[in-house]
């Protein structure tokens, strides 16, 4: 099965950025299934992952339709190699401990929730419908992860230390959530996706509220990691895709 690259217009690129972030994050969350700190949380993390897989499928299907090359959601997920993936770097970092997983889910949901809420009013009707559903899902993810950030930040000395460690690793990846390149600006001007500059204050407010309760302080802004949205990834994504794409690549042309 040959590797493919999608002919990227502003819209297909925008869709792939959203879809890839959802899928890669879902994949990392799904690695917890059967290994979570308690049974209730096993179910909760799987629920979030399932929501994200659902979002990714809808977005891939739409991107493939717009591309018009007869491809499917699975072609886009299983036949693009790492340099063709457009997810934010934060999503692909290895699963880490529970504090890391929760803080990442919180940061991503705090961005996704206002993003989807605004996109529900997109001039693109298909995307607006996907967004309206995703906004409700993201609102719950934000609440669930936010409560855990508070619990762990204001729990025991160990949970606080782990939360701070996760925070130190993840913070430099938060800048990429609000980047806008030429393709993004084209979508913003066409009223298809919201301006990250508008989302940023909402993200800040969610982070500040939870951090205040968790007694965590934001660091001064510093240099931020970047590159995932244009295909320059960490070393981790290649390994993740090697696992994820193993079967379709080992048996080209087979149907599963």
């Amino acid at each position: 099965m040959t590797t493919i690259a999608v002919a990227e217009t502003a819209l297909t690129l925008g869709l792939l950025r959203l879809a890839d972030t959802a899928l890669v994050h879902a994949h990392r969350l799904s690695e917890w299934c059967g290994h979570a700190p308690m049974l209730e949380e096993d179910l909760a993390l799987a629920n979030i992952a399932l929501d994200l897989i659902g979002q990714a499928r809808a977005l891939y299907t739409y991107a493939a339709e717009i591309e018009g090359a007869g491809r499917t959601e699975d072609d886009l997920a299983y036949r693009r190699d790492a340099p063709q993936y457009r997810n934010v770097l934060m999503a692909e970092l290895p699963k880490g401990d529970f504090a890391f997983t929760i803080l990442r889910a919180f940061f991503l949901a705090a961005q996704a929730e206002p993003l989807w809420r605004a996109t529900a009013a997109s001039r693109d009707a298909t995307l607006a419908a996907i967004a309206a559903k995703a906004a409700k899902e993201a609102a719950y993810h934000l609440r669930h992860a936010g409560e855990w950030v508070i619990r762990l930040g204001d729990g025991t000395a160990e949970s606080r230390r782990r939360m701070l460690d996760a925070f130190a690793v993840l913070w430099p990846y938060t800048g990429e959530l609000f980047e806008a390149d030429a393709a993004d600006r084209a979508l913003i001007e066409d009223g298809i996706l919201p301006d990250p500059a508008v989302l940023r204050p909402q993200w800040d407010a969610a982070v500040d509220r939870v951090f205040a309760e968790a007694d965590l302080a934001r660091p001064a802004d510093r240099w931020m990691q970047s590159g995932g949205r244009s295909g320059r990834h960490t070393e981790h994504l290649g390994h993740m895709l090697a696992v994820m794409q193993h079967l379709p690549r080992a048996y080209p042309g087979a149907t599963w």
């Binding site: 059967g34 096993d42 204001d154 729990g155 949970s159």
Partner: protein
């Protein structure tokens, strides 16, 4: 709803269960009445239930691992979502069952400790490895198929909370077996390599699936008393035969061959007759010497140990909140 205070098992001299109470209890069982958590029950009934329900719960939890092994490698997004939802369901079923056992006066923490220390048993089928994607199909079709045979009669088991948990579980599990069979069907209609993968999975899972019903009735330590108390509703051998009768035609439809040269249809009885089960293997795997026993328990222990700080933090945070709320209340007064 089960008030913990009333759920303590009776201790001391009054545990000498007088004949009148036992007779009344057995009359209720005979009348198909459900026994509820706070009702009087013989100690042996309580112990049998705790053992059976917690073994069932442990099996669901350990059972998440062999299938979980393929979540990150599911070959399509549709299969990925279905498998994740299925393994998640198993976690949910473990949760319902632990809760049912807890109504008998044990805590989940005690039951989990029994599992992790190796004192408690779980279904030995989960000590076999999942080597190819076809194993996910075979597990859904055969292992869930066998589990459903076992579980449907348990919806009428005499203990109320267990029966209610089983009703919920059976309702949710109805998609599991179909999910597995659909995977097998897709493989059998696919490339020759895929069909070979499906045959190999059937070859490896068939006999362990038959062993899931437990030892033959002639050797089953618990069957007679459990049948008397309607904890079990059919014997191991009866359920095993039902499973074989239902499953063999499904396998033939797939175009697969069962790894049993003695398998043949007996028109006189309408049953499929099968060859001798290797009970030596069953006992060996149950006793700890299966391909994955050590790994499965180690994985559960690791998850439990690595999660300890999270559970402690949640309890500590809740205690802090309560203390703050109390302090605020005092300050306000």
């Amino acid at each position: 709803m089960y008030t913990q205070a009333l759920n303590q098992p009776e201790t001391g001299p009054n545990a000498a269960e007088d004949a009148a109470r036992l007779a009344r209890f057995e009359a209720r069982i005979d009348a198909e009445e459900r026994i509820e958590p706070n009702d009087w029950m013989p100690e042996a009934y309580r112990r049998t239930l705790i053992r059976q329900i917690s073994q069932h719960a442990h099996s669901e939890i350990v059972g998440m691992l062999p299938e979980g092994n393929w979540i990150t490698r599911a070959p399509s997004l549709r299969r990925k979502a279905a498998l994740l939802a299925k393994v998640q369901d198993e976690g949910g079923h473990g949760l319902y069952l632990y809760a049912a056992a807890e109504t008998l006066g044990v805590t989940r923490e005690e039951l989990v400790a029994q599992l992790l220390s190796g004192r408690a048993k779980y279904s030995s089928i989960f000590n076999y490895p999942t080597l190819t994607w076809a194993d996910i199909g075979a597990i859904g079709w055969l292992v869930d198929g066998a589990a459903i045979m076992n579980q449907i009669p348990l919806c009428r088991t005499s203990y109320g909370p267990y029966a209610r948990a089983m009703i919920r579980i059976c309702k949710e599990e109805s998609f599991h077996q179909r999910q597995g069979y659909e995977i097998m069907l897709t493989l059998c209609r696919g490339t020759p390599e895929q069909k070979a993968m499906a045959q190999d999975a059937l070859d490896r899972w068939w006999w362990p699936a038959l062993m899931m019903f437990g030892p033959p009735d002639s050797e089953s330590a618990h069957t007679a008393q459990s049948m008397r108390w309607k904890i079990k509703r059919f014997t191991n051998d009866e359920l095993r035969q039902q499973f074989v009768d239902a499953t063999v035609p499904q396998g033939h439809y797939l175009g697969l061959t069962f790894p049993d040269p003695e398998l043949r249809f007996d028109p006189a009885t309408g049953h499929w007759r099968f060859g001798a089960i290797d009970w030596e293997e069953f006992r060996r795997v149950l006793a700890g010497d299966g391909p994955c026993n050590r790994e499965r328990l180690e994985t559960r222990r690791r998850a439990h140990d690595e999660g300890a700080w999270v559970r402690e933090a949640a309890l500590a945070h809740a205690a802090k909140r309560r203390a703050r709320a109390a302090a605020q209340k005092i300050a306000a007064e």
